[in-house]
Symmetry: C2
Subunit: 299 residues, 2 copies
């Protein structure tokens, strides 16, 4: 029986992602733990800590982050990206020499901007982003199979110990995810279009509907056909998490929104002037993208 | 055993909606047909006619629309809304006296605009719109339960025989749908926000992604996270049908798009200037709408 990847893994933030990782790490698929010998959970919310205890998804719950990280060979920050800098600053003096510091945030340049300046020389920084989630949040929303067949993108800064990167990748592989290294700026551009912009559009259309005159508004709810209903599912996600994502990836997101707005205006113009060919071309491109996704098994 | 609602029901256009209605009408839930004694199918595509014959979802296939409507007490046009006027003009002289003419199109003002001027005095016009569909099309895509627990909106012009409206409503009720009468202009505004605008946004974001530089574009496909993937499903729908919907509901759709664009720009400004409260308020509204939908059992 081989040793687990980490002796002690500390997870800070037991929301959907943190609690899912905790659940998976607690499993013994072959009779022995594969990810970590001991899992320590830490959350600033007393309620979340209580739930983690009741659910039994960690070996130990330690509400004080400075104590929770003690002697851990890996610490994964699973807090909203807006809280990463503060939490990292608080735990930095207490990390074990040689420890790996990772995260699961959806924006990676902001993570590096906040943490690289305060990083200790004897700590390896391996930022990570598992592309997985649901519209639910909190310790009860997690499940151990959340990461199966998903990607986890890693954006280690230049010079990071390759051994540390490999161990974080191995952790995600144990969770059933594939991992890939990527430049942080490139990550932020790709995520802006595949995830952040769709969420911005979904939140916005719900607001637009909410502003309609009362009679129409109530019928929007009553007759929510396929399109709108699908958008509201995306829009049901956690507000603080998404505010942080928008603010921490503002450049890439605003650029993608500007491109999108130009395209939407071009579509509006084609509709106003009856430009059949333009409209059909745009719709065909949507279908082609969908077909590519199905071929890539991402649909 | 009571008589079926119609003696002979003719369906013109056997795509997703028409073929689903045909399948449902052919069933004998209580040992006898409830919707129509005879179902006649008509499609301008020889391929579609062949499929309907093979699938056995009509009593008779008649490719010539002028013959297909003969002696039918109800004719439902299930063609893209852009084709409604032409088909109606062709069949009008051949409709039986007292026949009901209905449709399933997603835009209702344009339907009335095209058909009312050519309507015979002895034919009852009962425009309908079942709020049901998938991203698939064609006779093979239909299924008999498509309309269960869905709405069918009816927008009869003033003065339409209430008995004719009641029979069309009864047909949709037999399909498992609830029906509601509504003014055509109001219908078009509600559908613009719940269905047409979401589809326009979904088609557009696929196009925006398709225009990205090659490296990013391929990774958009590879890492299509929840948000983008959900949009592409909406965007997979039939191009001709959607072109027609956009062009035939242009006023309401362009108005909703203009409101949406203002709201998206306000969100962009809040992100640029870090207006936390505005961003969270918009996201909270999305969640509130989602909760209302769940309470209304529409999610």
């Amino acid at each position: 029986m081989s040793e687990p990847i980490f002796k002690r893994l500390t997870l800070i933030g037991l929301g959907l992602i943190g609690s899912s990782l905790a659940r998976r790490a607690m499993q013994h698929p072959t009779g022995a733990r594969r990810i970590a010998g001991e899992i320590v959970a830490c959350d600033s919310s007393g309620l979340a800590c209580d739930r983690v205890r009741v659910l039994g998804i960690a070996d130990r719950v330690e509400p004080d982050a400075t104590l929770a990280v003690r002697d851990a060979d890996c610490v994964v920050l699973c807090v909203p990206v807006g809280a990463l800098g503060d939490v990292a600053a608080r735990i930095m003096p207490h990390l074990a020499p040689g420890a790996i510091l990772s995260d699961v945030g959806s924006t990676k340049q902001s993570m590096l901007r906040e943490i690289e300046p305060i990083l200790r020389a004897d700590v390896a920084l391996v930022p990570g982003h598992p592309l997985a989630g649901t519209e639910y949040s909190g310790p009860d929303a997690g499940f151990s199979t959340l990461f199966e067949n998903r990607w986890c993108l890693l954006t280690p800064p230049e010079g990071t110990d390759p051994g540390a990167v490999a161990r974080v990748a191995a952790m995600w592989n144990e969770c059933g995810a594939r991992s890939r290294e990527m430049d942080a700026a490139h990550h932020d551009r790709v995520l802006a279009i595949v995830s952040h912009l769709p969420h911005l559009l979904a939140f916005t259309i719900c607001g637009t509907a909410d502003d309609l005159a009362d009679e129409t508004r109530s019928e929007v709810l009553e007759f929510a056909a396929t399109g709108f209903r699908d958008f509201t599912r995306i829009a049901a996600s956690d507000p603080v998490m998404w505010r942080d994502i928008f603010l921490n990836n503002r450049e890439a997101l605003l650029e993608m929104l500007a491109r999108f707005t130009e395209d939407a205006q071009a579509m509006a113009r084609a509709i106003r002037w009856g430009d059949d060919a333009f409209i059909v071309d745009r719709i065909e491109r949507g279908r082609a993208i969908r077909r590519s996704l199905i071929e890539l098994n991402q649909a």
